[in-house]
Symmetry: C2
Subunit: 673 residues, 2 copies
């Protein structure tokens, strides 16, 4: 017999690789790169599972996370929840078998989708300490809890029950996972604490208690008792459906006709569109779905992609919502007292690869945020904070590719993460998040996703630019105010003394130099309530008739008190407006809004607008946007027209054009009067 | 019967997930994020397999890659190799089953390790075009080739043979893979062409022909006919071996005794260390490996980690080597004419997690490389270029964390990818590369790996710093030369004319001002050969006896001609040296080295050193390093001692201390003589 050929030698080495063996060897892919991250990933997988289970069962989550030291580089992680519990027969597979789970085949938003996470943590614990996982779980309909000790047979990817017991447990239902693993405990960046903090921001309905190895107890209290709207399973949408996927769906369909398949096994296809599509590719509406093969499938898919489909349903999605994003950010950043919270942006749902997704963005600026460092990016996917792989994430990509210089930030060359006292929060919610790896720490690049994140960032950034330009105009004007209102009277006084004349009235000089109407609001909070007084001063050289408008967050409007009573309101949109008394040069008017004690509000929550004067001559308010459907008094309409005409004719004095000599002459003239 | 409880409802949804289903849904993890990348990944997986197979069979690889357009967004990729071929019975599993392969269980360096890549490409092709993969393979011992059309049953992760045939194929052995997939063809960044170019850099033994969709044919000719040293399978090293892994090894071991297990199933444990370790944990040398359990395993592992082990064998590794790195870089960057190629750095093998690895770094600077952009980083893992996920890669992390400002580059804040006309090549070779995902595009963070990459980068960066400082000294001196050698004579001439005196000898002035010995080499290349003349000029005010040394790449030394004949050589190290004739002020000597025509050489390949003078007074050469074991003539030793004494006494005139008045006075004195 001749010796085996090279091909035979190579063939002899070919073998099946179990998925558990694969991940044991490549545990970095699952987020077990190093000891610090191993601890975080273990906490994360357990807590994500607890949150998913509680939400599925419509229970307000209550989660206890305990980390304790068991030896050098060895920790015990115990996570106990009040979820529905897991049936005895499912416990081994759920915790000790990779690629086993309930959410992979569902088309809806969930934290866990892969059926890998918690089993990976068990695998890692087994590998590094040779200790089994200990699972305690009780379901409501049983009297006692099951306690199982589990390890994974990695060559077969099958659970091994090491020991089993039944115990009484003083709670109606819930699950406790205990793992002993090689790990390192840290606080700070990329720690379990940071993950739990991030989780609390975007899951304000959860109460989480964290006990650190030194016994420190950190509690994240529930900020809302409302469960997120349940995410429902939805059918796949044809946009982005691949030919092979359509083939599987057709083959697996139990629908009697092709039209029923298109309208019921897919979403977004109306009965009419379905009939048109079927006819256009030469098929019949009553054809059996499983009888469509090869070329016909290809033609069908192409026709679907070209057809007028209904946008994908967002029913499978559970966004955080603007209010909770703002509240979450304020909880975490409160002590830094940021000067500006941009109104959070929620983009409408879109679809990629047949799966709906939506993007939410929050943006915070100034205060105690460091101004010489790269902007902080808080990334979230399906309400889970992403703490690693920032550089590989499509969210970071979108932030880096935006030219932030246009919005007033420092950014070398107009790309890369900008530098400045800013924090952006980006949440991507989807029935399928395209993670770059099983560790679920970064979202893969995708043109549709990138577009949505970019649009949301731009919307938030535009608010920032408005804020910064207002701020700089205000600062510029403030400097001018300081000079004019303090120095000018002193100069006048000294000069008058020297020449032995009475001090002149400086109003005409001041108003000609300033030539703006100043709208200044403050926020006063005390136990009796929150009050926002606003002062409107006419520093222009002529009398002004103005309309003042305010926009209040609609949910706060019902409890707001206005003084004086506004001339009009739109409670649904949270709007109120006043026709101010005619203001002579240097004249002043005041309005005020009051809210109940402890209202969660800051000055940026109120937007002020004016009509009757052109933009260049107002500080502290913007011109009324064109989309306000408000009927203005005749006097205001006329004033506005006059202002527009003046502006068009280059009339009035702009800040740059002030003629100081003329102003002075006029001041003397006033003096002589 | 009561309705099912929540726990029962949830349990009913639990299901096994096939690994093929998982990756079909998460194809971005495998590198099929978008149409452009899908094409690249398909080419890459095929070519990597071809290279691995050819190397295993010790065949110089010859690979034909053809991409042709089949329709809108649809391409055919065909990769044909001259490898050993695959036995008929293995073809279905190799190409249409995920997690099946020959290299996963081997502890040696290979491009493919996961048994996923090519099957993932088949999966993607099936999914997007519903077309089977077509595989043609012939092994040497059979007359004909087998042609199989394959698809993957994703729910079972099993191959399905769609059709089968036997054909004559006009080659002794080889494999051809044909896939039709949804894709987009591009050139430029992150393209198939860039991948093949990178592959050619680090695999100079391969000949690769690429036919683009428009028929353009790009050939990467073989730059070396030497196959890389074969990487051998090695046993795992105890450093970083986890407890669970030790457990599996003990259980699976067929060795009769514990000492045999330690010395034969592991590497790095000597018989003596094995006996000491066994005794120290209270076991016996003759114990059966499979009889060691629980606590005993833990003690054993701890003792092994603390024991004096032999460093891991690098036998499993196949580095590129300095010479080929340099040659590869020159092939690719030749037209940019970089001013500096740092000597490539090869770090000694290290170990992480029981697997040996080593790091190689090449660095190129200047010339046509863009000076206002981020430094280019060429990343390679086991001779495969990494084109995506740069931001997520440990290599990029190491580059970013180095403070390049110390080495003369521009880097904001001392971290991040620096900016400048530089390119760094980093190759990590290992029996197991810790990739961040199955797409194998980024290496996960790891402290040991990071340390090695950093050390290698620093070594290369030090050469860069030397180059830059020499360059700036040379430029500074050049400016001075220009002024002194051009203007001074003219000044002298004019002045002499005015005062009616003869033009004085300027040598004393020039040498006092310059006060350096200048070593200047050039490279002249013509059809007759490559010649490097070197001119040594004594611009110091006193006579000098010097020894000049040169270091030539050892493989070029044998064919080098020296003129005049050197006073000593060390061919093995590529060194030669001359005792120069005594050089008076302004005196000049010349030596030259010549090489055969078309020798691959640039001026940076030759390093010049001198002895007999201290560092501050030489330009264009460095002081002889202390590790040269050369016996110097007495005159040189004395001159060197004198120079050292002068330098210590602050004697001699440094550039900064030139006393121009004194120099001038001396010039006049010379004049009066």
């Amino acid at each position: 017999m001749s010796p085996p050929s090279i091909a035979q030698q190579l063939a002899a080495k070919q073998r099946e690789i179990s998925v558990a063996e694969f991940f044991e060897r490549n545990r970095q892919i699952l987020g077990f790169d190093n000891l610090q991250r191993a601890l975080l990933t273990t906490v994360k997988e357990s807590v994500d599972n607890s949150l998913d289970a509680a939400e599925d069962a419509r229970i307000l989550p209550e989660i206890l996370v305990e980390v304790s030291k068991e030896g050098e580089d060895r920790y015990r992680v115990a996570v106990t929840d009040n979820g529905p519990g897991i049936l005895r027969r499912e416990i081994p597979n759920v915790f000790a078998r990779l690629l086993y789970g309930s959410r992979f085949h569902q088309n809806r938003q969930a934290r866990g989708q892969q059926g890998i996470g918690i089993s990976a943590a068990v695998l890692y614990a087994n590998l590094t300490t040779a200790r089994p996982a200990r699972i305690t779980s009780k379901v409501e309909e049983e009297e006692a809890a099951h306690v199982l000790e589990l390890s994974i047979d990695t060559q077969k990817n099958q659970p091994r029950v090491v020991s089993e017991d039944v115990v009484l447990w003083d709670r109606p239902h819930g699950t406790k996972v205990e793992l002993v693993l090689k790990a390192k405990y840290v606080r700070g960046r990329q720690s379990a604490l940071e993950y739990l903090k991030g989780t609390a921001i975007v899951n304000p309905h959860a109460r989480i208690v964290f006990v650190e190895p030194d016994g420190t107890r950190v509690t994240f209290e529930r900020a809302s008792t409302e469960l997120p709207a349940p995410s429902r399973e939805t059918a796949p949408h044809p946009f982005g459906l691949e030919l092979g996927e359509l083939g599987y769906l057709l083959k697996a369909s139990k629908r009697p006709s092709l039209v029923e398949f298109l309208t019921k096994d897919l979403q977004g296809v109306s009965a009419r569109t379905a009939r048109e599509v079927v006819a256009s590719v030469g098929l019949r509406t009553g054809d059996s779905p499983s009888g469509i093969h090869g070329e016909a499938q290809e033609r069908l898919l192409k026709a679907l992609h070209d057809a007028p489909l209904i946008a994908p349903s967002a029913e499978g999605l559970s966004p955080i919502g603007s209010m909770l994003i703002k509240r979450g950010l304020r909880n975490v950043l409160g002590e830094l007292k940021p000067e500006f919270f941009a109104p959070p942006v929620s983009r409408p749902p879109k679809v990629r690869g047949g799966f709906p997704f939506m993007v939410e963005v929050g943006l915070v600026y100034g205060g105690g945020l460091p101004s010489d460092q790269a902007v902080q990016i808080l990334r979230f996917a399906n309400r889970v904070p992403l703490l690693f792989q920032q550089g590989a994430c499509a969210i970071t990509g979108a932030v880096s590719n935006l030219d932030w210089r246009r919005y007033g930030l420092d950014q070398k060359g107009g790309s890369g993460v900008p530098v400045g006292p800013m924090l952006v929060l980006v949440h991507v919610a989807s029935t399928k998040i395209p993670f770059t790896s099983e560790a679920k720490e970064a979202i893969a690049e995708d043109p549709e996703l990138d577009r949505e994140v970019t649009l949301a960032l731009q919307a938030a950034a535009r608010h920032l630019r408005t804020h910064l330009s207002r701020k700089s105009r205000r600062e510029f004007a403030g400097d001018k105010f300081a000079i004019i209102l303090k120095i000018l009277p002193k100069l006048a006084e000294k000069t008058s003394q020297l020449v032995g004349k009475p001090v002149p009235d400086l109003t005409p000089v001041v108003t000609r130099i300033m030539d703006v109407v100043n709208v200044e609001s403050r926020l006063l909070s005390d136990p009796k309530g929150v009050r926002v007084p606003v002062e409107i001063t006419n520093y222009t050289p002529r009398a002004r008739v103005l309309e003042l408008f305010v926009e209040v967050p609609p949910d706060l409007f019902a409890n707001a008190g206005f003084s004086p009573a506004p001339d009009g309101t739109d409670a649904a949109l949270g709007r109120a407006w006043w026709t101010l008394p005619k203001l002579p040069p240097n004249g002043r008017a005041q309005v005020a809004i009051s809210f109940p004690p402890a209202t969660d509000l800051d000055t940026n929550d109120l937007d002020w607008y004016v009509a009757g004067i052109d933009e260049a001559h107002v500080l502290g308010a913007d011109p009324l946007p064109g989309d306000w459907d408000v009927r203005l008094p005749r006097t205001i309409v006329e004033a506005a027209e006059q202002a527009a005409a003046d502006a068009a004719a280059g009339g009035g004095t702009s800040e740059e054009e002030v003629d100081y000599d003329a102003a002075e002459a006029s001041a003397h003239a006033a003096d002589e009067e």
